[in-house]
């Protein structure tokens, strides 16, 4: 079993070392800080952060709805949450394009000629496009990372003791107070962990991003796609160096959020 891990996981990881030794550190640093690489890095980080935050909010609401309320088709909707996890990125990508792309009815509404796009432009905002640009990247992120937030927060909501909420209410707490003082503090570790998972997953996404975003340098080219392009050049050292940066970013945010959540849980207990 250790042999299996060694052959299929550790050997490929070890293969990342030689390309990094082949060129001097200054050269590698120059490749990481190249304008196009930095732009891709910033786009990846910001799109995943924005997407992660939206999903943290709406995903937590969805988890709450699925646990606390009873309504028809609840089980079907509950099962549907996992679909982005099981559905291949390419499939999701062409589905989003067909449904919300420029040629689709929705794409026309929100585009520069549609009523929604016109309305946005009237208040000084650019018309939306879900194919190409930042909005597309965020949208792709929303699809991919939804299950991570919901499935992290859901079990914690299910374990909340409703009696505590009732007790607070009977002692005169308003619903707002119950939410901020009782519910949110118990959920915050799970919500933060969910954001961390969503960010790490979103920043690594390739399939949906490559199809939906248009991959224009400095505008919608994210880091995984840029790494792929470096590999095709081929610039193995650059690709590997940026892969280390990407993995570091994903793992860093994961560890940071997980560590905070653990600290928080321990402090409350």
């Amino acid at each position: 079993m250790f042999l299996y891990l060694a052959v299929f996981v550790v050997l490929p990881l070890a293969a990342a070392v030689p390309p990094l030794l082949r060129e001097p550190p200054s050269e590698i640093w120059a490749k990481i800080t190249a304008p196009q690489a930095m732009a891709a890095l910033k786009l990846s980080a910001s799109a995943s952060a924005v997407g992660g935050l939206i999903n943290t909010l709406l995903g937590s609401m969805l988890a709450w709805t699925l646990v606390r309320y009873r309504f028809p088709l609840r089980r079907v909707l509950d099962a549907l949450v996992d679909l982005p996890f099981a559905l291949p990125g390419v499939v999701a990508g062409i589905a989003l394009l067909a449904l919300y792309g420029p040629a689709s009815p929705v794409g026309e509404w929100i585009g520069p000629d549609g009523w929604f796009g016109q309305a946005l432009m009237r208040v000084g905002l650019p018309a939306l496009s879900l194919t190409g640009g930042f909005a597309a990247l965020v949208f792709a992120n929303l699809f991919v990372t939804l299950p991570f937030v919901v499935r992290t927060v859901q079990p914690v909501i299910a374990d909340l003791e409703v009696d505590v909420e009732s007790a607070a209410e009977s002692l005169g707490a308003s619903p707002t107070q119950v939410f901020w003082r009782i519910i949110l503090p118990q959920l915050s570790p799970a919500i933060v962990t969910g954001f961390g998972l969503a960010f790490a997953r979103g920043v690594n996404e390739y399939g949906v991003a490559v199809l939906v975003s248009g991959n224009i340098a400095f505008e919608s080219l994210v880091l995984p796609v840029y790494i792929f392009q470096r590999l095709e050049v081929p610039d193995y050292t650059g690709a590997t160096a940026l892969a280390v940066v990407l993995l570091g970013m994903a793992l860093g945010v994961l560890l940071l959020t997980y560590g905070w959540a653990q600290w928080r849980v321990r402090r409350v207990a």
Binding site: F71, L99, I227, Y236
Partner: protein, 277 residues
Amino acid sequence: MSHKRRLRFRPLPILVALLSIAYLLIIVALPVGAILYNAFAGGWQAFWEALQDDETQHALKLTVTVCAVAVPFNTVFGLAAAWVLARHRFVGRGLLAAFVNLPLALAPTIAGLLVVLAYSPTIGLFRTPVLASGVQILFAWPGLVLATLLVTVPLVALEVLPSLEQLDPADTQAARTLGATGWQTFWRVTLPAIRWSVLYGVVLCTAKAAGEFGAVSAVSGRLIGETNTLTLHIERSYAEYETTKAFTSATLLTLLAVGTLAINVLLHRQAAKRGLR
């Protein structure tokens, strides 16, 4: 459940429920509907013809082959890893767990890059043994399998581990004292008890292996009729405006994903029945 009775008619909860359900429909349900709609927009006949297309057939066969190699490998490994992690305490246990989980944090593109860096006949770290063996790894099915393996390593182990941990060790001990061999105990006692999570792990692993795109596109070279897997075929067909072809293949992968969900639901229902989870 006590909280059901407590629900009163308040505008905020209803707003939260409606907003979040609408969000789920817009983000997940409608796109899936769009796949099926586009696949069958030309009727059954067109769907069937697209399925019979040579390139589609080849891509389908290649993906099935890759899954047929990668999934059994990872299932056996996943069971072994989960067993060791659940039952044994030893030095390096944390490290083992970390390496089993690492591929989850690895971008698929990076996984593909690593396979190239390891096995490329020109620059790969292991180019000498690769050249000596005469096996073509990159731009051929072994490379596709290796990339897929790397991405899907943790899936079976992750699904099996929690249910193994919840098993009562008394059962296996009883089997052993009654004279069963370790192998018999595994097949007759342990495996039946965890069969649903094993099944889910295998199906999830299959769905992920079949749907792998980033890692596979880095190592495939996309030779049509040779190394074009189903996901690569979908992207290419879509880019060439062969929409029906793209969505027909996408439907196959969607069905696999929906099957995965169905088994997940069954698994949870079984677990709830037995008071597990």
